[in-house]
Structure formats: structure tokens, C-alpha cells
């Protein structure tokens, strides 16, 4: 008799989704689905609006990565109006985007990932949160996270008027630059962030890597998935967050494709399944081969580990050194260990911090030439950035008045959706046997998708009242045979 275990809603990710784990008669995992039950419909909402409104609208898609949508949208406007930002404007945008990366990556690591590793994957759920992390490693950590976040938000607010929902994106430039007086506090923030970035890496080594059981978990086959990888790279084939070409490597690490973001639709296919609202991306030239990894797969992954797998290296020296240590520990490149995404995330944050030190000392930072007004509407624009969760595309088409007639967004979580399903299944196969599952094991299954830092929401929504984790075990006829609830 087949049974079904449902974990709904998933904890510690944005939006509405649930995991269904189907058991066979022996109580072993037969199949697992990560389902998205929320319909977005955001693209339709934007039609008929002036394109230049998009950088003000899209940060409200959700409360998690507003700056990524804002920047992708602003870059889509650059393309739509055939305009290159001035060198100073580009520098200022990169400063802002790195500041956002620092804020985002550290919130993810300390608030979402660290509870699993620092407090422990099978610890009491009441303790497995940021307060538990602070209880283990001291309140100084909490103070540092709050401070680094606050300082970097000041950069976002200065340039784009609001943090965390920036709204000043303009084609060809930025709305506000910096003075030499401003440079003083920008430099202080940059150096403070660099110190923190190094501290965070060291903490990861001391607390996670130094614990053999945690390292075993990262290296465990249950958290390994052989897929293609996609990310932006710069002209030197290094990891970049703001701009570049899209590069794809195969499961062996060989280059499969390299293309301009505006050609994304030639390479990315969007597959629809009846059991989820999210479209399942795959490599279009290979066709949809279903939810499978390894030989014959057409699935690719994005996000921090993908960035490091795809690029030849990091842009900055300290991040490069840490990336080399990571790949050496993981047994080479590409690394298919999903949980190593957390490690890669900290390395990406380190690059962002190092880069902002360079920008803070760049003479061009205080240039007054921050807007190129040579705008020529061409009716189609594509903007692409590495969102913290992976490659993000905004594609706009307009009529001759600049009013939107088509909007297509490919968000990072959509790129990762099919691999997330596979990761959940693999982890469930390893850790769930029968209906008598322990909470710690269920959390290990959740860890499989949490590593991707998925974001499902088109709104800052959550459930009213408590935030429960409801686990329902059903027989083949859909009858609930056991229910568990936490939160």
C-alpha cells in the first residue's frame, strides 16, 4: 500500500510550497515532489504599463531579493533604450549590487542555513533558529550580522532612495552619485564588510568543516546531484554578479554553451507539469528528459555553487584562495554537493566585499558623469544579473510609446526547480523509511532544498497565526493515517 508524507508548508523559505513524499508498500520512498502551489501571474499584471515603471514595481514581487529584480529590470531598460551606463554609473551600480549581495548572503547563511549546521540538523526545532545560533556562538555574531546589514543598506539607500526596496533604477545611469565626503563612510563600510566576510568564512571552517559529521553530511551522496550548471562570467571567465555572458558547463565541467543574455530563449526551455505552478527549466537544445540527473539529463542548476563551477575562478584574490580550498575539499571541480552551496555563498560574499573595497577606492566613484541620456527605444530589452539565488532574466517588449506588450521573467528558483525536486527525492530516499519518520530526518530533507535558498513568492506573504510545519502521512487512497505539526 503506497503512503504519502506531506511537509506543508516548508519552513524557512519564502512563499508557498510543500513536499510530497510517496512511499511504497515497504515504506521506502517511491517518489518525491517539491510542489509550488502559488500562482504568480506577475507578468500579466505589468502589461500596459510604461516600461520605465518596472524598476519601481518589480522590487515588490517579493520581500527577499528586491535589489536583484530592480537591477535586472534597470538593465533591461538599458537594453530597451539602447544605452550604455557611463563608467561611473556602472561602478556605482556594482557597489550597490555588491552591498545587496552582502546583506542577502549573510541573512541566508546566519538565519536560514546556520541553524542546521551550528545548532544541528536534528536539534529541537524550537532551538534551530538564529536565536539558537547566537546561543551557541555568542551574541557578538548577532551584533555583527545586524551591523554589516545596516551599513550596506545605507549604500543601497543612498543610491536608490530606499532600502531594501530600491526604486531609482534609470536606463543609462543612476539617480545619485557620491561625493568625496561620502567616500569616507563608503570606505569604512567596505572595509568593515571585508573583515566580516573573512570572519564568516573562518566561522564556517571552525564550526562546520571542523565537525566531521557536518563535513560528512556535505559530502554525503544523498546531497549530490550531477547536472549542468549556468552562471554569468566576465570577460576573463571569472565569477561576476552584475554583468557578463551566460556560460553553461556540463556535468563533467566542460563548456557546453556561452551566450548573450538576450539569446536566453534559445537555450532555456520552460516545461510545464500538472502538479506544480512553477515552470521546470531545462536546456532547450537538449530537450526535456524529465526529472533525472547524470547521463542524459538536460537539467541545469544556478546559484552560488553553480557560479563557482561555471567560472574559471573568482575576480578577487581572497575569494579565489577560498574557492581553491573548497574544490580541494570537495574532490575537484565541478562539485555536485548541494550542501556546499552554503560554502560557495560565503565565498561569493567575500568576493562582493573585496570588490567593494576596490570600488570604494576607485577615483571614478565620485564622478559627476552618472547618466547617459542618449536613449533610443528599440522595443525589446533583456536584462540579466546573478541574483543571489542564481541567474535572473527580465525580458520586456513594448510598443512605440514604450508601453509594455510582453514581460517574461525567468527567476533563479525557476532555473533550479527541477533539480530541487531531484534533491528532495535523493535526500528522502536516504533519510525517510516508512511513516515513522523523525523530525530531524524531515529537516534533513528540507535541507536539500534550503541550500538553493529558493524563493517562491510574488508577495511578502505568509500564513496567519503560527508558522506550522504540518506533516501528513496518507495511504494510497488519500486517507490521513498520521499527522504531525510543529511551530
Amino acid at each position: 500500500m503506497a503512503r504519502k508524507i506531506t511537509i506543508d508548508p516548508i519552513t524557512r523559505l519564502e512563499g508557498h510550497g510543500k513536499i510530497d513524499i510517496l512511499l511504497d508498500e515497504q515504506g521506502n520512498v517511491k517518489d518525491a515532489y517539491w510542489q509550488v502551489t502559488e500562482l504568480r501571474g506577475f507578468e500579466r499584471f505589468c502589461l500596459g504599463r510604461p516600461a520605465e515603471e518596472m524598476p519601481r514595481i518589480v522590487p515588490n514581487i517579493c520581500g527577499v531579493c528586491p535589489s536583484a529584480h530592480h537591477m535586472a529590470s534597470t538593465k533591461a531598460l538599458d537594453d530597451l533604450y539602447s544605452v550604455e551606463p557611463t563608467p561611473a554609473a556602472r561602478l556605482i551600480r556594482e557597489l550597490e549590487y555588491n552591498a545587496f549581495y552582502l546583506e542577502d548572503h549573510y541573512i541566508h547563511f546566519f538565519f536560514l542555513a546556520a541553524p542546521d549546521f551550528v545548532v544541528g540538523p536534528d536539534a529541537d526545532p524550537k532551538e534551530r533558529n538564529i536565536l539558537g545560533v547566537i546561543g551557541k556562538v555568542g551574541k557578538e555574531i548577532g551584533l555583527k550580522v545586524i551591523e554589516v546589514r545596516k551599513r550596506n543598506r545605507d549604500i543601497i539607500r543612498h543610491i536608490f532612495s530606499k532600502a531594501p526596496h530600491p526604486e531609482g533604477g534609470l536606463p543609462g545611469g543612476v539617480p545619485r552619485g557620491f561625493t568625496e565626503e561620502d567616500r569616507t563612510w563608503v570606505k569604512e563600510t567596505a572595509y568593515f564588510s571585508l573583515d566580516f566576510a573573512q570572519f564568516a568564512i573562518q566561522l564556517f571552517k571552525d564550526v562546520v568543516l571542523a565537525n566531521p559529521s557536518y563535513l560528512d553530511l556535505i559530502l554525503h551522496d544523498a546531497y549530490k546531484l550531477k547536472t549542468y550548471y549556468m552562471a554569468l562570467v566576465d570577460e576573463n571567465d571569472r565569477v561576476t554578479f552584475y554583468d557578463g555572458k551566460v556560460k553553461v558547463v556540463d556535468p563533467d565541467g566542460k563548456e557546453y554553451a556561452r551566450f548573450d543574455p538576450s539569446d536566453y530563449d534559445q537555450y532555456i526551455g520552460e516545461w510545464v507539469e500538472p502538479w506544480t505552478y512553477i515552470r521546470l527549466n531545462h536546456l532547450r537544445p537538449l530537450g526535456w528528459h524529465g526529472l533525472k540527473d547524470g547521463d542524459g539529463t538536460s537539467l541545469y542548476r544556478v546559484a552560488p555553487l553553480a557560479r563557482l563551477n561555471v567560472a574559471d575562478g573568482m575576480q578577487t584574490p581572497l575569494a579565489q584562495k577560498e574557492a581553491e580550498i573548497m574544490f580541494e575539499t570537495l574532490g575537484g571541480k565541478p562539485a555536485h554537493h548541494t550542501l556546499a552551496t552554503h560554502w560557495a555563498r560565503l565565498i561569493c560574499a567575500l568576493q562582493a566585499a573585496e570588490h567593494n573595497v576596490i570600488i570604494a577606492n576607485d577615483p571614478r566613484l565620485t564622478s559627476k558623469d552618472i547618466r547617459n541620456m542618449n536613449l533610443k527605444l528599440k522595443n525589446k530589452g533583456v536584462g540579466c544579473v546573478e541574483a543571489p539565488r542564481g541567474t535572473l532574466f527580465h525580458h520586456y517588449e513594448t510598443d512605440d510609446r514604450g508601453v509594455l506588450t510582453k514581460v517574461n521573467l525567468i527567476v533563479a528558483t525557476q532555473n533550479n526547480a527541477a533539480p530541487i525536486c531531484l534533491s528532495v527525492k535523493k535526500a528522502a530516499e536516504e533519510f525517510v523509511h516508512g511513516p515513522d519518520v523523525k523530525e530531524g530526518f524531515l529537516n534533513m530533507v528540507e535541507m536539500a532544498f534550503r541550500a538553493y535558498d529558493p524563493c517562491l513568492a510574488c508577495a511578502t506573504h505568509s500564513l496567519p497565526g503560527t508558522m506550522p510545519l504540518a506533516v501528513t502521512i496518507r495511504d494510497h487512497a488519500g486517507r490521513a493515517i498520521r499527522e504531525m505539526r510543529r511551530g
Binding site: 520581500g63 541573512i107 531594501p164 511578502t460
Partner: protein, 161 residues
């Protein structure tokens, strides 16, 4: 004593943004109280609320047991509340306040949450539904009266403590 009235919601999800609309209309209506709004949840609220003594929240609510626009005051907010007090991607407001206290920040007392029933009305849109808009004056009057009436005793109890 510093008091903050915080409206919460998403401005592009129609009735979901009712807390933001009300916050805008409450500005200047209650003496000695600041008014702010936030489209964010979790840690993003930190900068807004730290340093205040008393906090009131106005937010959308979905209970399905009353009509659209029904105002509900929740005075004992321990782990219960409205739509945007909770985050599945970070921390809820209760953890946030605990974190603030733990780290030595001045964290306000959450005096009350005013929830406005919106049912499942979260379609995309930059304005509130006509049905909810019609009820705003009454909702605002109730909130103003309630907060203005509560503040003196909250001030004295804070002074005693």
C-alpha cells in the same frame, strides 16, 4: 516615551496593502506617535522599530470568520497575529524582538496588532477594492480612538517599570 504605529503590506497586491493605506492616513492624527510603513518582513523591520518604547501594528488579516474590512485588535500577540508578522524566509517579528533584546538593543513593547480582514483578496492591483475602501474611514476612526485611549496608561505603566 516613543511610540510607533507601523503599517504593513504589499502595495501591488490590492487589499493586502491595507496596512500601508491606513498608515498613510494615520499620519499626524495621534499626538506623540510616529507613523511608518513597511513592505518588508523579518529582519528588515529591525531598523524601523529599534529605539521605540511602544509599537502598534496595522496589517491585513485572513481569518475567514468575518467580513471584508472587519477590524480585529489582538492585544496578546504571542505567536499569533496578522499576515506580515511572520516570515518563512528569515525570522518572524517575535524572534526579531527577541534577537534585539538578546543583542542589547532597545526593543519596543508590542502593544497591539490591528488586523483588517481581507479574506482571500490578494489579486494584483495598486489600489484597495471598493468594498474595503468604503470601510476605511470607520476603521481609521476606531484605531485612532483606541490608540489615543491606550497611550496614557501604556506611558504610565512603562514609567512604573
Amino acid at each position: 516615551m516613543k511610540t510607533l504605529i507601523l503599517g504593513m503590506g504589499n502595495p501591488i497586491l490590492s487589499n493586502d496593502g491595507v496596512g500601508l493605506s491606513i498608515a498613510k492616513m494615520l499620519e499626524g492624527k495621534i499626538p506623540h506617535a510616529d507613523v511608518a510603513s513597511s513592505t518588508m518582513i523579518g529582519l528588515s523591520l529591525f531598523d524601523l522599530i529599534i529605539g521605540y518604547d511602544i509599537l502598534f501594528i496595522v496589517d491585513a488579516m485572513t481569518t475567514h470568520d468575518s467580513g471584508i474590512g472587519k477590524l480585529k485588535k489582538i492585544s496578546e500577540c504571542d505567536r499569533q497575529g496578522t499576515l506580515h508578522l511572520f516570515s518563512s524566509h528569515g525570522m518572524d517579528i517575535f524572534e526579531l524582538m527577541e534577537l534585539g533584546s538578546l543583542c542589547g538593543f532597545k526593543v519596543p513593547r508590542l502593544a497591539a496588532v490591528y488586523g483588517i480582514e481581507i479574506g482571500d483578496e490578494v489579486a494584483f492591483g495598486g489600489t484597495l477594492s471598493p468594498a474595503l475602501t468604503k470601510q476605511l474611514p470607520g476603521i481609521i476612526e476606531s484605531i485612532v480612538t483606541d490608540i489615543a485611549g491606550a497611550l496614557p496608561s501604556l506611558f504610565s505603566s512603562a514609567l512604573i517599570h
